[in-house]
Symmetry: C2
Subunit: 123 residues, 2 copies
DNA sequence: GTTCCTTTAAACCAATTGGTTTAAACAAGA
DNA sequence: TCTTGTTTAAACCAATTGGTTTAAAGGAAC
């Protein structure tokens, strides 16, 4: 439980049932029983899944009259996208750069082409 | 291991060490020993982490001379972003719609406002 | 107040996970 | 070939996870 927020979000979405719940909540709020109905597991198991999603900040259960609805929290997705975007972008840049290097090596001949390019020397 | 691709990717990134590895690979390829150096765990543990990342398609280890480099595979990020984008967008739309409904309820008086709006009736 | 549904809690279980250590197979360089 | 560094594999361990069942507490409606 003392794991960081990002780990909690990723871990929460690593389970197919939990992703399915998120998918269904994306189209409409639902009560726990509604959510549990299609699955072949106990209602308590669904409560457990919801607690995981809740602790990850992906879902909230606003208080109110008894069959409390479960609501998708769009905010947690931003955390994810921020992280992913950051590294994906860098990776793609590196690929483009690598492609240029390979192309240059290709037309220059293959005598100097070794595997020492991982020492970064970009500005 | 018979889990689906998306689960593997999410699970792989649910570990901070693994995310750190990805982050470092985003700036430059590295050998396993280079990757393992800053951590206080055994090199074998890092190999295990890399196997997880590899099976998730986030990383590849192109064959070649002995200290084989580890390379970030940008492709797997697309899977993630695709999934996230889909549901985040829907969730946001629903929020906007809900805001309108609430605003309408607000200026119409609060006698009819119950919690039955999760039966979707959008076209 | 009782009864019924919803929610939370607890004890338990099998499987997975993130590590370890030890050992063996591979590849290169001297 | 011998030695050294890299990679993979195996056996083990503690902690976590995704489920279960059972039980109890909270709220609504009658």
């Amino acid at each position: 439980m003392p794991t960081d927020a990002l780990s909690r979000v990723f871990a929460a979405l690593a389970d197919p049932t939990r992703r399915d719940i998120v998918a269904r909540l994306a189209v409409a709020d639902a009560t726990v029983n509604q959510l549990a109905e299609p699955y072949r597991m106990s209602v308590q198991a669904v409560y457990k899944h919801l607690r995981v999603l809740e602790e990850a900040g992906l879902v909230s259960r606003p208080p109110g009259p008894q069959p409390r609805p479960v609501r998708l929290e769009a905010g947690a997705f931003d955390l994810l996208e921020e992280w992913i975007e950051r590294y994906r972008r860098r990776a793609e840049e590196r690929y483009r750069r690598l492609d240029r290097v390979l192309a240059a090596m290709d037309q220059a001949g293959e005598h100097a082409g070794e595997h020492d390019e991982h020492e970064e020397r970009q500005p």
